[in-house]
């Protein structure tokens, strides 16, 4: 084994009331993809923040390129070649791609020709080097486009290019595939391999275990702030890994039970919206989980939102229990018994500063009130009830939703809709960014709900999840239904073929 690029020894970090890291060791060699895994709260983010200079360790030492270092600021770490690609994008929506590549580290030249210090942004040099990097990655970047115009995958590319432009020796990727489609993710993996071959060390964080097995060389498992194990990926299995992470054995990640699909609850006929959806028809039955696959931009989310009334209705008909439904706005959809768990939990699903109970009652607040006055007692009853039923782990129903872990936040989002007792539940990426334990629980909940007759439309970019949970899978391509597969027929390859328009 080559010498370590980055070596952490005995790192301890304490926050008020919490021991976030407890004597953690970690080593990264050049040209290695090192996965960092663990449940939420295991200490992964703290570790990354220490490596990237956001936090300072209370104890322990960091060696970088063979010498002990401290990074007092993120800038100091970045200057030494350590870059983080955060889960939440840290790009500037108003600025162009070119500029985003260089923010904070502009190549400079003197204001006037011979006036000493460089204060002026050297656009020419920027453009030239950006084009070089894009070319070396084999990608095309529209340097003059403002970033808010780019797709998620393109934005991520900008971040990677930015890291390379700064001669990054270590790139930390935190849930990079979260917003990506399978196809984009595949492209990302090949990019990661390319980076690895250049000798860049990559710390890779993901809740999607299959990705770790696909892309990582070694892995380190953290649990409760301690390092549990570090080993080459090849020496472990999925089950062992889950065991290390959770500290116990999970029965199964995809608890699918055989069910009878009942009569259709939701019937969609010839649905179309201007430009995004064309002639979409399908039915969803009582107790059925219908998977919806497709690339980002294929119209999956638009379809969900059209049914939920957030996208204005265009052509076509939607029937609920055989009755024509005119869904002009989301409020109407809610009244009709349609629930939508949106893809972006924190932005679309929750009011983070609101308490758990305030979030849980958000959808049914009018029902919990008389003449507009909230009945706080029944609000509490409902909240306690949902927290118990969904096993939401929270210190109390009065704490802000922001304090909960990702998985429990997602359960709050599901819970607020279950409180409304819907007929149809649309779940858009329900387990994105959720750790494996919570993921299994959400899946179990879905099965249970379907078993009790709820009709579920599951949108996911994670094919194993679709394959594991769905009774039937529908694939979208360019705003149309490209095909449908039964649970038995469906494979990843068939879905991808339909989704990319090959089949």
């Amino acid at each position: 084994m080559t010498e370590a690029l980055l070596q952490l020894r005995g790192i301890t970090k304490r926050f008020p009331g919490v021991l976030a890291l407890d004597g953690v060791d970690f080593a990264l060699t050049a040209g290695e993809v090192h996965a960092l895994v663990g449940e939420n709260g295991a200490g992964k983010s703290t570790l990354i923040k220490i490596i990237s200079g956001v936090h300072q360790p209370d104890a322990g030492r960091i060696d970088y390129l063979g010498t002990p270092v401290t990074f007092p600021t993120p800038r100091a770490a970045a200057d030494r070649g350590i870059t983080v690609i955060y889960q939440e994008v840290a790009l500037f929506p108003d600025l162009t791609v070119l500029e985003n590549l260089y923010v904070g580290a502009y190549p400079r030249r003197p204001l006037l020709r011979h006036s000493g210090r460089g204060r002026r942004v050297d656009w020419m040099a920027m453009r030239a080097r950006a084009q070089d990097v894009a070319a070396s990655l084999g990608v095309k970047l529209d340097l003059e486009a403002p970033v808010h115009r780019l797709s998620a995958a393109q934005q991520q590319l900008v971040e990677i290019a930015r890291a390379l432009l700064r001669d990054a020796r270590v790139i930390i990727m935190d849930e990079p595939t979260g917003p990506l489609t399978q196809q984009d993710a595949a492209r990302l993996f090949s990019l990661i391999r390319q980076l690895r071959s250049r000798g860049v060390g990559i710390i890779y964080i993901s809740h999607r275990l299959e990705e770790i097995f696909e892309v990582a060389d070694r892995l380190t498992v953290l649990r409760d702030g301690r390092r549990i194990v570090a080993m080459p990926v090849g020496e472990t299995t999925r089950e062992m890994l889950i065991h290390h992470m959770v500290g116990r054995t999970l029965d199964t990640l995809y608890p699918h039970t055989a069910r009878q699909t009942g009569p259709p609850v939701l019937e969609v006929e010839g649905l179309g919206t201007s430009g995004a959806l064309t002639d979409v028809s399908f039915t969803l039955g009582r107790g059925e989980i219908l998977g919806l696959a497709g690339l980002v931009g294929s119209g999956r989310t638009t379809l969900a939102r059209a049914i939920f009334g957030i996208v204005p209705p265009g052509r076509g008909r939607i029937k609920l229990d055989g009755v024509d439904a005119r869904i002009a706005h989301a409020g109407r959809a809610r009244e009709l018994g349609i629930a939508y768990v949106p893809e972006e939990r924190q932005r679309q699903g929750l009011v983070l500063p609101f308490s758990v109970s305030e979030n849980l009652s958000l959808v049914i607040l009018r029902r919990l009130s008389r003449l507009g006055f909230i009945n706080h007692a029944s609000e509490r009853t409902v909240a306690h009830d949902v927290v118990r039923r969904l096993d939401i782990r929270t210190p109390g129903i009065g704490v802000p939703a922001a304090t909960l872990s990702g998985g429990n936040q997602q359960k709050v989002v599901v819970g607020k809709w279950l409180a409304a007792q819907p007929r149809v539940l649309i779940m858009d990426e329900p387990t994105r960014g959720v750790d494996v334990g919570a993921k299994a629980e959400i899946h179990r909940l879905m099965s249970e709900l379907a078993g009790r007759g709820l009709a579920i439309l599951l949108i996911s970019s994670e094919l194993p999840e679709l394959l594991g949970m769905s009774d039937r899978i529908m694939v979208m391509h360019r705003g149309r239904i490209a095909g449908e597969l039964s649970r038995d027929q469906a494979t990843q390859e068939k879905i991808m073929a339909m989704a990319t328009g090959v089949a």
């Binding site: 993120p74 200057d79 994008v89 162009t96 500029e99 923010v103 502009y106 204060r119």
Partner: protein, 315 residues
């Protein structure tokens, strides 16, 4: 390319308005009329540059009118005391810089929202002026006082040239210097800016300081045209300038906007105001027409660009 839509809209509106006035009013297309309009716009534009920078950085400064009055009265007093004009100009710049730095320090380092800080300084400075001057204007001023404001160069008064130079310099500063780009970054996404090693507090501080400096400059362009300094100088200036910045296409929430847009916005407002006199529109309807004009202009632009799908809210 950066979007130039709003600038073009204003240029079109300006061209239409001025075109109509020139065709119907012989005296409007007169060189002197144009020179007066440009001169009156110059100092507003210089304050507008500072305001644009502040707003691009995601902040606001409503104390500019009071700061201008303070600069005007103190420099007038200095000039009367025999301080040579170059030093008086320097004093105005430093005084503006100092007041701006005070705003900046309160916003950047004590982290009080800028609207509250500048609301407070607006009130405090204006109160202090009345307290100090008891309403007496500063006069008579020495003969050198009006040199800056009334000297002509190539047919246009110096303030116009200085205003243009400031617009040009600020455009370069914003578009081509590291500091300028950091202002956009800080206004566009402050957290990300910090993650990228930009000291957003430092940027905020200097943005306000720079704004103060520009108010100091604007003061000199404005008051050196007159032979006395009135205590009422700068009343309501913040309203005029913020309107011009908004009309000029700067996003009121920060992150985007250009100095050129603001300059055009100032010109448009100045020409509109003169147009009311030239067209003989009853002065009692003045305010209603100007307000409606702004509402229609901004609304049309938002509808044109499809921006109207934004979430509600202003901050």
């Amino acid at each position: 390319m950066r979007e130039r839509g709003r600038e073009l809209t204003i240029v079109a509106a300006l061209a239409m308005l001025s075109g109509y006035l020139s065709l119907t009013q012989a005296n409007f297309r007169d060189a002197f009329t144009i020179s007066t309009i440009l001169t009156n716009a110059a100092y507003v534009a210089v304050v507008g540059i500072g305001m644009t920078i502040v707003i691009v950085a995601g902040q606001i400064d409503i104390s500019v009118g009071s700061m201008l009055a303070v600069c005007a009265l103190i420099t007038g007093t200095l000039a009367r005391a025999g301080v040579p004009m170059p030093l008086v100009v320097l004093a105005s710049l430093l005084l503006g810089l100092g007041m701006g730095a005070l705003n900046g320090a309160l916003v950047a380092y004590l982290r009080v929202p800028s609207i509250i800080v500048t609301l407070a300084t607006l009130t405090v400075l204006r109160g202090a002026i009345v307290w100090w001057t008891k309403g007496y204007w500063v006069m008579p001023l020495p003969p050198g006082w009006k040199v800056l404001g009334t000297t002509h160069l190539l047919g246009l008064p110096l303030p116009v040239w200085i205003g243009w130079a400031a617009v040009l310099a600020a455009s370069i500063l914003l578009a081509h210097t590291v500091f300028g780009r950091e202002i956009y970054a800080a206004g566009s996404h402050p957290q990300a800016a910090q993650l990228n090693g930009i000291d957003t507090a430092r940027v905020t501080f200097w943005v306000f300081a720079l704004n103060g400096l520009l108010v100091g400059l604007a003061t000199m362009l404005h008051v050196t045209r007159f032979s006395m300094v009135q205590t009422q100088e700068g009343l309501g200036l913040e309203f005029l300038v913020i309107t011009a910045v908004v009309v000029g296409g700067t996003n009121i929430f920060g992150g985007s906007g250009t100095v050129m847009g603001t300059y055009l916005g100032v010109l448009l407002l100045t020409v509109t105001s003169s147009a009311l006199t030239f067209l003989g529109i009853s002065a009692t309807w003045d305010q209603a027409i100007r307000g409606a004009f702004i509402l229609v202009a901004v609304t049309a632009d938002i509808v044109r660009t499809g921006q109207w799908r934004q979430p509600v809210g202003w901050a």
